[in-house]
Amino acid sequence: MNTRYALIRGQRPSSSAQAALQRKPRWHEMAIQGFLFFCGALSILTTAGIVLILGRESWLFFRSPEVSLREFLGTTKWQPSIGQFGIWPLVNATMMTTFFALLVALPLGLCTAIYLSEYASERVRSSLKPVLELLAGIPTVVYGYFALTFVTPLLRGILGRDVVEIYNTASAGIVIGILILPLITSMAEDALNAVPRSLREASYALGATRLETAATIVLPAATSGVAAAIILAISRAVGETMIVAIAAGAGPAFTFNPFKAAETMTGHIVRISGGDLSYDSMDYNSLFAIGLVLFLITFALNIVSRWFVQRFREVYE
């Protein structure tokens, strides 16, 4: 408050009007602006930090005589204790959990989004949407607990204990699906809702049913928004850690059997770094190489998702 009045007093043209109107440097404002710029630029530093750290440690990893990029990307065995570093078991497990997650979340999420946006009454929608947002806020470790203590026993009960192992990618994947369900539903519903009413009216006026309007007019018109939601959800599923750390298993295994234990990229990082880890060891560096792969995958997915969002906005906003 004081500064404001002081400044106004100071600006009163007491000596000469010419001098008063001239631009004066306001040092403390410049300092503030400098600080604010630093805050903004910190995000660049963060990204630079991520890229540098992941890059540097990965570089150390690949430079060592025990491993080559070719072995890293071309072999299917990850056993650091005997010097085998083929990333495929980890990537494969990540792809399996992501696949199961999408198997659950895509149909359920899209159908729920269509129901909420095209069929449900205002009352149902306004009571279900906050519930979805609340669920999106539940920590992932809780979902991990759910996977291990509910879904896995359920799967074992249905398919038999000798078929389904205690730790398995299917159960982790299904629960990741439940985790990303609110994300897909909420984003897809927003996209469907953003389709102008006039298009729906045009469709109804031509004698279309509700389904025909929803499926052949509204959904296609919202394609890029829905696609953005799906891709963002994939990115979340790939980067999801706690669910797989708890339920998918501890130990890299190259298997396509979803009922067997396997370790994903994120699961491996968490398990190894949670134990006793000495810096500058192959184990330590290998984690960063995995991290780099993970970062590149999710980064690419996020960029594609943003591109879809942009395209959607161009059409309707």
Partner: protein
Amino acid sequence: MNTLSAPSAPTVRYLPEGDSFRSHMAARHKKGTLWLTIFQAATLVSILALTALLYNIINQSFGWVAVRNQVEPEALAIEGTPLEELSKEQLITILEAYISKGVMRRLESEKPFSVRSREDVYQLVEERVINPEILRSWPLADSLLRRSAIHQEVVETFPGARLQFRAWINPQFLRAPQSANPAKAGVRTAMLGSLWIVGLTILVAFPVGVGAAIYLEEYAADNPLNRLIQTNINNLAGVPSIIYGMLGLAIFVRGLEPVTSGAIFGLSDPTTANGRTVISASLTLALLILPLIIINAQEAIRAVPRSLREASYAVGATHWQTIWHHVLPSALPGILTGTIFAMSRAMGETAPLVVVGASTFIAHDPTGPFSKFTSLPIQIYQWTARPQDLFRNLAAAAIIVLLVLLLAFNAVAIILRNRYRSKRREG
């Protein structure tokens, strides 16, 4: 389609009419109803899946337990006076009778018996003499539905054990520190750890986040650098949290070890010298939630009407004065809501903290930024990862604590926002 018979009156009548129209219509409606059923079923399944999540937690945190006492309380009654009514001195004689001299001496040196209260001594008798051990637990649903079968089972497999209904979440659970004995373990250390971490995280992330948002909305010219900052923030919001954990491990734990272990402040002690401290965890989480705070604050600032800014400029205020006195107060409710949302996120994060190096077992409360730490989600993770069922019950109880804390955060956010709003309207 270039040649066509005279296009005049609507002569083409390929559209179904009459009965064929009716049957066509019926088929379309049937399809519509079928899909509506599918959509409704999907919504129902979604809701059910999420209900199952909550059901499972409740189910695991209450239920029967089979308890066996080393010494039955009835056996400790002195001359017909039940244990609960014995005096402090009588309780001390029981202690002396049942536990070794060495342990007695240790207890005495911890706190002399002369100054201990009766309740304190009573608790010692309970812990050291009666020493109840939980042999097995049953979830709530089983406890309610299979009562007699459970009784039968206890009689057969755990002779001498008693069935007791246990709420795994109870006052003792909140007060007790971590313990290897499921009957005694609690979440106090973890809860305090979480509060320390989240508190410090917000202390760092809030000013920086709001500062960045102000810069981007109020100062940043539309040039490549600022566009890069904006895009970059949006991209950072999508980076998996575990990557932040690795960043924190490399920079805060390893790179800045002298700072984060407190060594340069002369605060280090041998247990924390490795930089795996509360402050490392907080800085890591601060980087993680910065994009969230920035994006939310930007939206709040953007929602402030232009007319308010122009009114301020028109009375000769500078740019910063306009922001500080008009834009920020108007945007504050939105900024706060976004911040608390980000805080909840920090509260629930697990993976980055595991990577940064949460301790697996600490029984001492964290006392400051340079303490070793554990947090609620970490505690949940560790209990869940243990093979014994009893720890699953503990994990479920800890989940309830975590969810209640998160709910409380959000409730505070909403109350704060509403109060602030009505105040501004009155003023």
